[in-house]
């Protein structure tokens, strides 16, 4: 008798407490898949950038940075892509940014362009001499040194 009551209570509890979509695809809440897929997006993806910024695309095509996605340097810009007028991408500090990829490190692939920035530039901003979208100096003369930032 006690067992019968216990089983009934358990069954009732179970019907009340177990989420509806549980077991839909397996031993988990099926609705969780949709919930996970509904997260907001932070990175727009380079296709979205290239749709508008065609002049940058042309510039990049002439140099080695053609393979570097826009948001690798410019950060997450889905908000900007949604509302280009009001959300402006932040200005980048090339002295820090470029070193992340190009600072010499023995673990980097040997053919990869890397420098010891202290010797190479003495710590000044990389875009004093290099144009980030077409980095080879001979290809695109950079801005005058007066605009260099420490």
């Amino acid at each position: 008798m006690v067992i019968a009551i216990a089983v009934t209570v358990f069954a009732a509890l179970r019907t009340a407490l177990v989420p509806r979509s549980f077991g839909q695809y397996g031993h988990y809440r099926g609705a969780a898949i949709a919930e996970t897929a509904a997260r907001p997006i932070a990175f727009a993806g380079h296709d979205v950038c290239e749709a508008c910024h065609t002049e940058v695309v042309d510039q990049k095509k002439q140099g080695k940075h053609v393979v570097v996605p826009c948001e690798a340097c410019h950060g997450a810009l889905a908000k900007h892509a949604d509302d280009p007028a009001s959300v402006k991408p932040p200005k980048l500090d090339t002295a820090v940014l470029c070193a992340r990829c190009h600072e010499a490190n023995s673990a980097k692939p040997k053919g990869f362009p890397q420098v010891v920035t202290a010797d190479h530039s003495g710590g000044i901003a990389c875009d004093s001499c290099h144009q980030p979208h077409r980095p080879k100096i001979e290809d695109s003369p950079a801005k005058p040194a007066t605009e260099a930032r420490k």
Partner: protein
């Protein structure tokens, strides 16, 4: 359980109904996405990785990863001479801000790591309530409204890719940017990788370049002896990688 004819008669229709659910399964947020048409994996090309840490930063931004925890990270290996079983490995802040300038002898390289999206995942095996699971399209996800925070899955993962998010007190790990890949985008880490060392791959897509790549390159998975059927493939991975 013996497959008697009677049992089969009961099981088959039940299985058919269940499969119909799976076939019809479309995460509501992306109505054109069919769960059964994809089987996600990732390809990591170690000779291309420059240890810039862009992937780690992008992932943290895309997925609100708290400081001190990592859904993906980069390790730097140094192997001297024949000591393949005893490399020196470092991962300062998961490689989030890149690696300090370094000139060392021996063999040096970077290894990005993330959840291996195991097809035979030990973490889903040990979850007591079904809060972590493998989706029909091959991604291991965590249901943070269901997770108890018992940490058994964190213990069971051989790759150390899981952690407990201190804000939600639930388990968390790389979700292969599920919210992006179901909309036709690539993962945040693959999106920002400047050298293309990380590539998302869909094993069910016959046109995906991964099939040709796997045929023509020497590829490994991490800890194959764990028999987890890991789906993150490493090209050019050295035997010292742990």
């Amino acid at each position: 359980m013996e497959i008697t004819r009677r049992r089969l008669l009961v099981l088959l229709p039940a299985a058919a109904v269940a499969w119909k659910f799976v076939l019809a399964g479309t995460p509501e947020a992306s109505p054109n996405y069919k769960l059964t048409e994809h089987w996600w994996s990732m390809l990591i090309d170690i000779p291309k990785c420059i240890g810039c840490g862009s992937c780690v930063r992008a992932c943290a931004q895309e997925n609100d990863v708290p400081d001190g925890f990592y859904r993906t990270w980069v390790e730097r290996y140094r192997v001297t001479d024949w000591k393949i079983e005893r490399p020196e490995v470092e991962s300062p802040d998961g490689g989030k801000l890149g690696f300090p300038p370094n000139q060392s002898d021996g063999k040096n390289f970077f290894v990005p790591k993330l959840c291996n999206q195991c097809a035979d995942s030990p973490c889903t095996q040990v979850c007591p309530v079904g809060a972590t699971f493998v989706t029909p399209d091959g991604v291991v996800l965590v249901d943070k409204t269901y997770c108890l925070g018992c940490r058994y899955c964190v213990q069971a993962c051989p790759y150390g890719c899981r952690f407990i998010n201190p804000k939600t007190n639930t388990a968390e790990k790389c979700s292969l940017c599920y919210h992006r890949i179901t909309k036709g985008l690539t993962t945040a880490c693959c999106e920002v990788c400047p050298t293309g060392a990380r590539q998302l791959a869909d094993l069910k897509n016959p046109k995906d370049p991964i099939h040709e790549f796997l045929k023509t390159h020497t590829v490994q998975v991490l800890k194959p002896h764990m028999a987890t059927q890991a789906k993150v493939f490493y090209n050019g991975m050295d035997g010292s990688v742990r």
